[in-house]
């Protein structure tokens, strides 16, 4: 990098750890050991999440740390019901593939982190949200990705569970009506992380080449599928 005077000149240390976390990161289901997360590690990954960018500096996220086995069991039961709902929408070939895919590690991971969105935080005048109401939602997702990468670098696995109805999860952890649950993240130490995503390994879908999603100056409909 040539001209970044008086400031940051990137070296290998900057990029190696970051790219390593990004490319090792997986959506984890089966690999949790069930061991607890050391308190200082949990604090670091939450601090990382909380350092994410947010529209109008609203920081519209909350993190509810759920360890209670009864609550996790209840959530898992709900998730399995929703798994069945999705399964009913599949054709025979898809259903056969789906049968091999694990969609959650709620009991295996010692911790569930519910991440929610509070649209009222920083309102009424949230700078940067007047034209795009969903910009606050987007901020919460940026925090989730910070958490995910930090956890990966710390040797943990993270699995985002999305087979649930928002009302169910809201009631389960006592979120007020004005807050929207965005994710249930299973977080904990793992034996290893798979090299290939589960969905690819089980033949559900393959990753796209980067060239198919990059366009120059204007969207290219030939490239788009």
């Amino acid at each position: 990098m040539t001209n970044t005077p008086a400031t940051h000149v990137p070296d290998a240390t900057d990029v190696v750890g970051l790219y390593d976390a990004m490319f090792r990161r997986r959506d984890t289901r089966a690999e949790f050991t069930g061991e607890p997360i050391p308190a200082e590690v949990l604090d670091r990954i939450l601090t990382a999440a909380h350092a994410a960018p947010s529209v109008g500096l609203s920081q519209p996220w909350d993190f509810i740390l759920v360890t209670d086995p009864a609550v996790r069991r209840s959530f898992r039961e709900h998730v399995h019901q929703e798994r069945a709902v999705f399964n009913d929408q599949l054709d025979a070939r898809q259903a056969e593939t789906f049968a091999r895919i694990k969609v959650e590690g709620i009991m295996e991971a010692g911790l569930g982190i519910v991440v929610s969105y509070d649209a009222d935080r920083g309102s009424p005048a949230v700078l940067g949200r007047h034209a795009i109401a969903d910009a606050g939602l987007y901020s919460v997702c940026l925090a989730i990705q910070n958490l995910w990468l930090a956890a990966t670098a710390e040797g943990l696995g993270v699995g985002w569970v999305s087979f649930y109805r928002e009302e169910f999860l809201r009631d389960l952890v006592g979120l007020p009506e004005t807050l929207r649950p965005i994710a249930w993240l299973c977080v904990g130490p793992v034996r290893d992380l798979p090299t290939v995503p589960d969905l690819e390994r089980h033949g559900w879908r393959n990753r796209l080449p980067l060239s198919e999603v990059v366009h120059h100056e204007r969207y290219d409909p030939i490239r788009g599928r």
Copy 2:
């Protein structure tokens, strides 16, 4: 980089670069030098974005790289109109603070990256989206955060512009009706990155302590504001 040993034992290299990027990262407006981004650096940050997790492995993002000054100028003009719309919603004290805040670096940065969401990708049966339609949107945001962190580690700045109407931006870069623009990111080399976020520095809003957004077992309404 993609090969995982049986068990990952984190060391300092894993976490230092990652946390450094997370905490140095800023939403950049005024600091762009206007220099071009080396091709291999641009390729690395797009590869990082494309390595993000996505619901059902749908990878529902596209990246439109905009350098054309005429297109950027047209976008900037639209953003300034929307800035005025927001300004009209503020009381006198807020408007005075807002007047000091720069909301875009569209011309200063050499490159705009429009990130869009394609809900049809991987459909009809997107695994993990049947109960939460917005899960695809969330995936796009995870890709944006990967890009942002990678760019930061590479010595670049990124500024997310959100003062625009989605229809305007869709037309501007030729997105089909079925695609939704999620962000315009100004990306380029920077002189430096501010230590404190612009909005905090100018007195718009302060960052919250982490303790206010972390809850144990259930959402705590006393903690929530």
